[in-house]
């Protein structure tokens, strides 16, 4: 594939994924209590970890998004972290649906209910993550 086109696709992936993560992080940062409730509803972590995760995770999303957008030495690290988060989030959603939990997704700080469509959205978002994780290293963009 033409290197110019490839770099364009990587740049688009960076902006798109960073935008999604900035949007998702902001709502959770503004409402850590609500996000904590969403985490607890998944019934996957104990109470003490829920509080720490509710405080920490939105900021990790935010700083990773910033690292993707900036001309940053941490961009590859950010791609690894974002791809890892997407895998964990997707697993959590599938697990909740399989256990029949009727809970809010908590994905973007909104109150959207948990659906298989949400799992599909995660999988779609994983595509640019994995693509950029592989390609942004070989054909770095500014």
């Amino acid at each position: 594939m033409n290197t110019k086109i490839l770099r364009g696709l990587i740049w688009t992936a960076r902006v798109f994924v960073a935008g999604v993560f900035l949007y998702a992080a902001w709502g959770k940062i503004l409402d850590p209590r609500g996000f904590g409730r969403d985490i607890h509803n998944y019934q996957m972590v104990s109470d003490g970890w829920v509080t720490l995760t509710a405080l920490f995770l939105p900021w990790l999303e935010l700083w990773c998004a910033v690292a993707l957008l900036a001309v940053s030495p941490f961009r590859r690290s950010a791609w690894w972290l974002i791809t890892g988060m997407m895998v964990v989030f997707t697993y959590a959603k599938i697990s909740a649906l399989q256990r029949g939990l009727d809970i809010s997704c908590g994905c973007t700080g909104s109150d959207d209910p948990m659906t298989w469509m949400g799992v599909a959205e995660n999988l779609v978002l994983l595509v640019p993550c994995v693509f950029a994780l592989v390609c942004d290293h070989r054909w770095p963009t500014r």
């Binding site: 940062i29 850590p32 209590r33 904590g36 409730r37 607890h40 509803n41 109470d47 003490g48 829920v50 509080t51 509710a54 405080l55 920490f56 995770l57 939105p58 900021w59 990790l60 935010l62 700083w63 990773c64 690292a67 001309v71 940053s72 030495p73 941490f74 961009r75 590859r76 690290s77 950010a78 690894w80 972290l81 939990l101 009727d102 809970i103 809010s104 109150d111 959207d112 209910p113 659906t115 290293h137 770095p140």
Partner: protein, 157 residues
């Protein structure tokens, strides 16, 4: 910008550390900080009560439905609503609150007695709906916490 595996690992640790520090700082600067010993497991009932909403059990719910004074609002998805709902309940799915609320708002007044419910005592959609209604200026909301599953099991469709 190319980076070696060790630089990538350092970057991962750095981003995690910065996120931890800013998360803790945001808690420290918050006017309503999240308590470390917050009892998430005490369940939704305590959270509903702490939020100032009255909880209705199934026998009380049955009486209120028969009485017919309250407007009953179903916070579940339209798909779940269509599969069965409490008699007289109107759909107000939180995932599509704005659109459905436009249809309901004309029949509401600020002191209208409302009851919100979702699937069961494990779902938080009724609480979220109640909070949204209160924000919209309708504070007189009770929550039927046990929800559709309990109603369907104890009373029937």
């Amino acid at each position: 910008m190319k980076s070696s595996p060790s630089a990538t690992c350092f970057g991962i640790v750095y981003l995690i550390a910065v996120s931890l520090v800013t998360g803790l700082m945001s808690r420290g600067l918050s006017s309503d900080p999240l308590p470390w010993d917050h009892a998430w497991s005490e369940g939704l009932r305590e959270e509903v009560l702490a939020a100032g909403f009255e909880v209705v059990d199934t026998s009380e719910m049955r009486r209120l439905v028969e009485e017919g004074r309250h407007l009953i609002l179903d916070a579940r998805s339209m798909q779940e609503y269509d599969m069965g709902q409490i008699p007289g309940a109107m759909p107000l799915p939180i995932g599509d609150f704005e659109d459905h609320f436009l249809g309901i708002a004309p029949i509401l007044s600020p002191d209208s007695p409302l009851i919100a419910y979702c699937s069961s005592a494990e779902c938080d959609q009724a609480l979220i709906l109640a909070e949204r209604l209160r924000e919209a200026g309708y504070p007189n909301v009770k929550i039927y916490l046990d929800g559709w599953k309990a109603w369907n099991a104890e009373v029937g469709p």
